[in-house]
């Protein structure tokens, strides 16, 4: 008997008439390097069945619904599965929330990934990515310190009591690397990457840029004065910043009262800057709940097009469930080239130790690892100090570059300039 059949048997035996089973098979090859020396090789092959069990009961005049999730392992016997699912159904009765409709059923033929990674084994993909990274390690003064590479193939199959039956495969190569420059200061810069194709050129470009930046960081000085600056963010930090709008428009956040945004509302305050056009980007054909995912408009001209999220909270809010998105695209074309954006006194913060965007307070910031203080046409590398800004205060005056950037979390203008951002400097730290 197949695991699916055993789980369905267990569900029937415990009286669960609403359920969802998500079967995930994951295989990976992983390489860990110190410099170019091999630290560790790893591989994995794991299989699990994640089962969601729902119960609906009358509580007074109201219908309530509860849900719990359990993981069934391939080694479990029918008796073990029966006990696990009966416990799950019993527990679901203690977490009763307002009733909501199940995710709409979807049936589709298996979707095969068209990625070139699908034709490679994880070990082949990991080796190709490692070779590409090493090929970029040619800077005269900076070098690759260490790297981790993960090539992962995932095969997912979702069944539900409502009749959903979808399956698909996805393939990624992701990882991180650190580049180092030892003179005049011994410093490093961290970069991560994630691709759904073997994008060796993009990786080499990322590595080459990181090597240039770390060379500048080694020469950067702690001369930043405290005050307000026109701040430029670039690359992934722009995506983190704009991710605020995706988080604030998530149904879970709205239902919890942590956001009051409504479709049709102008959520970007007025100002002289560009009006935001943002799109939510689907990276998988279905969500974890089996909801079909597609690219969706999020903001047009600073106006919220719709809310998004998982089944339960979207149902509560009367919205169509969309699944949870992890990637956004900004289609604002930008009004200036990056060089033009850097005109006039400003601070271009290139890397932070950890840039954070707080979806609740609207504050963003972090400690600066490398920035360029731009004055009178000169760009002086500086390090140290911290940014502590409020997007809510400056969102009306955003200016974007025409150059584009693309990563696994964000696609859009490479850079954004914001006015009057508080920066804590480093006066007195340099000796």
């Amino acid at each position: 008997m197949s695991m699916f059949s055993m789980i369905k048997t267990g569900l029937a035996r415990c009286g669960a008439d609403e359920w969802r089973i998500r079967r995930v098979r994951e295989e990976s090859a992983e390489l860990f390097f110190v410099g170019r020396d091999l630290d560790t090789r790893r591989a994995k092959s794991v299989l699990r069945y994640e089962v969601s069990v729902f119960v609906r009961v009358m509580e007074g005049e109201d219908v309530k619904k509860g849900m719990t999730e359990v993981t069934v392992l391939p080694s479990m016997s029918q008796a073990e599965i029966d006990r696990l699912l009966a416990d799950a159904r019993f527990a679901a009765g203690f977490v009763l929330n307002p009733d909501y409709a199940p995710a709409d059923p979807v049936q589709h033929e298996p979707r095969r990934s068209g990625s070139r990674l699908a034709a490679m084994t994880p070990a082949e993909a990991a080796g190709e990515i490692a070779a590409a990274l090493f090929a970029a390690d040619v800077h005269p003064h900076a070098f690759l310190n260490s790297a981790e590479i993960f090539a992962v193939s995932t095969h997912t199959h979702i069944l539900s009591s409502e009749g959903t039956d979808v399956r698909w495969d996805s393939h990624t190569v992701r990882g991180e690397f650190v580049v180092q420059c030892k003179e005049p200061e011994d410093v490093e810069i961290y970069r991560s990457f994630s691709y759904d194709e073997p994008e060796t050129e993009a990786l080499q470009q990322l590595a080459a840029e990181a090597l240039d930046f770390v060379y500048d960081r080694a020469r950067a000085r702690k001369i930043l004065k405290s005050g307000e600056y026109d701040l430029i963010l670039s690359g992934n930090e722009v995506g983190e910043l704009l991710g605020f709008y995706a988080m604030r428009s998530n149904a879970g956040m709205i239902y919890a009262g942590m956001s009051r945004w409504q479709p049709g509302e102008t959520v970007q305050s007025e100002g002289s800057g560009e009006r935001l056009d943002l799109t939510l980007c689907a990276q998988e054909p279905y969500s974890e709940e089996g909801i079909p995912m597609e690219d969706r408009p999020l903001l047009r001209g600073g106006v919220l097009c719709g809310i998004h999220g998982g089944n339960r909270f979207c149902r509560y809010l009367g919205a169509q469930p969309t699944g949870d998105y992890r990637r956004i695209r900004c289609t604002d074309p930008g009004t200036a080239s990056f060089e033009e954006l850097k005109q006039g006194p400003c601070l271009w913060a290139v890397t932070f130790s950890d840039f954070q965007m707080n979806p609740m307070s609207g504050h963003f910031g972090g400690e600066i690892r490398l920035a360029y203080l731009i004055e009178n046409g000169r760009a002086v590398p500086v390090t140290g100090g911290s940014v502590n800004g409020s997007l809510l205060a400056v969102q009306g005056d955003l200016a974007f570059s025409r150059e584009r950037f693309r990563s696994s979390r964000y696609e859009g203008p490479y850079a954004v300039r914001m006015k009057g951002i508080p920066v804590a400097g480093t006066e007195g730290e340099e000796t």
Partner: protein, 470 residues
């Protein structure tokens, strides 16, 4: 719970022996995790059995002429033993041809393991599974309702997680078996004004079981009032100030600012400045720092995920950096002894050097004495997040609350959010007072960079130091 591992243990041993016959070293770590979390908030009630870390499966480790090689799997039956051995032989022989040309091994002596054999279990008073979902959720509801009665509060989110896990580690020299139960949680109050939401969180944690619920939410009204106070907080004027850190902020400084910097896999990569400072002064005489399982908190265990026995490591002794903490491979590469800090997010992940329970020792001062000694400065409370910088010992910590102190008294003004920056040894050398009572807390998880989450605790006493705030 986990009795199936007794049935499987002969298979784990058979696999270990089969791999040992083909490779210079072989070990198998088998683990099973049972997670359960309960939460109550405006979003509703929930129970989840998905843990953030762990899982049920095995990882086999061997050494060949290219070094360390691992395979993670969660299907192990009688017939799969030769299949796994074959897979690891393929990885060792055929897949090496896929590596970049000229790939060399990082020189790594084979692990030296002294023989050890034991089965141990941590203690608890109340088993959360026996107490049951209904009783636990009732407690959470009661805490939330008490908090919601405070006027002006948007929501109170009460969350509790428990984890019980069993791990068996087998190698030629070792046969180790441990079971651990830990529980943690938080009470978070939210207050809103306009588009801005402020929150204040109180963590709870215990090496043990549902007895933690006895203290959960005892101060929920204070937590709510703190969230409301934040609505009137002001932006910080950047500068260096005299600061009194509460034990939670001290803990974040211990963990993020210094602890990550003494993880010795970073020594191997030349990514930690601390390596050059062993034997030298890095902090004031008042600072003595520990990591390990000498205290009972959420990261206490008997052996790590590489089969190294845990201990109590004195990292800083009265201001002098004595040693770092290490996993087994880093220790072998550096010629030191492993300290029991080789930890994995789960059997599916690599082992790295990771902290466990990390803290500063107590001193002799009281918080009142510290505040009274400040001419102008801040009482820092409620840490939010932090990021390590072992290479340059830069500090980046986010704190939710800075209470103004003027002429030795709290003025009632609050500043938020706050970014702490600066150079770690400067901060630690400026420590001028250390409190009498050590408090540890482990409600969250620690990442290495941006991934590899493991449960840790950190803490210390109240501490006075000069800190750059922004």
């Amino acid at each position: 719970m986990f009795e199936f591992m007794d049935t499987k243990k002969p298979l784990y041993r058979r696999l270990t022996d089969a791999l040992s016959a083909r490779f210079a070293y072989a070990s198998v770590l088998a683990e099973a995790h049972a997670d359960r979390s309960w939460s109550i908030s405006r979003s509703g009630a929930s129970i989840s059995t998905r843990g953030m870390t762990g899982g049920t499966g095995c990882v086999a480790r061997v050494f060949d002429d290219l070094g360390c090689l691992e395979y993670s799997f969660n299907e192990l039956e009688e017939e799969s033993v030769p299949v796994i051995v074959l897979k690891m032989e393929e990885m060792s022989r055929r897949e090496r041809g896929l590596l970049p040309a000229g790939t060399r091994p990082l020189p790594t002596p084979l692990p030296e393991e002294t023989p050890a054999c034991f089965r141990r279990e941590t203690a608890w008073k109340t088993d959360p599974w026996e107490l049951g979902d209904e009783a636990i959720l009732e407690k959470l509801r009661s805490v939330r309702e008490t908090g919601l009665a405070v006027e002006g509060i948007l929501d109170v989110n009460v969350r509790v997680n428990c984890k019980r896990y069993r791990q068996i580690f087998l190698s030629a020299a070792r046969d180790l078996d441990q079971t651990v139960l830990q529980m943690s949680g938080s009470v978070t109050a939210l207050a809103v004004r306009g588009q801005e939401i402020k929150y204040y969180s109180r963590p709870y944690s215990i090496l043990g079981g549902a007895e933690m619920l006895e203290t959960l939410g005892s101060d929920v009204e204070d937590v709510c009032r703190a969230a409301l106070e934040l609505l009137d907080s002001e932006p910080m004027v950047p500068g260096e100030y005299e600061c009194v850190c509460d034990p939670a902020v001290t803990g974040m400084i211990v963990h993020e600012a210094f602890g990550h910097g003494v993880e010795m896999d970073m020594f191997v990569k030349d990514r930690a400045q601390a390596r050059q400072f062993v034997g030298r002064r890095v902090a004031s005489d008042l600072v003595t720092m520990h990591d390990g399982s000498a205290v009972g908190e959420v990261a206490t265990r008997f052996f790590d995920e590489e089969g190294s026995l845990t201990t109590d490591t004195v990292i800083i002794d009265h201001g002098i950096l004595k040693q770092g903490i290490s996993d087994a491979l880093s220790a072998a590469r550096l010629g030191t002894a492993p300290t029991g800090n080789g930890r994995r997010e789960s059997y599916e992940r690599k082992a790295y050097t990771r902290m466990t329970n990390t803290y500063f020792e107590a001193g002799t001062s009281t918080p009142e004495e510290m505040i009274a000694s400040v001419k102008y400065g801040f009482l820092l409370q409620n840490p939010a997040s932090g990021m390590e910088d072992p290479k340059n010992w830069g500090i980046q910590l986010m704190v939710n609350v800075a209470r103004e102190i003027r002429d030795g008294k709290l003025t009632g003004r609050i500043f938020s959010p706050i970014v702490l920056t600066g150079y770690v040894p400067d901060l630690l050398k400026s420590v001028s007072m250390m409190g009498r009572d050590v408090e540890l807390s482990g409600s969250g998880h620690c990442g290495k960079g941006y991934k590899e989450w493991v449960k840790v605790s950190d803490g210390g006493p109240y501490m006075k130091a000069r800190i750059r705030l922004g």
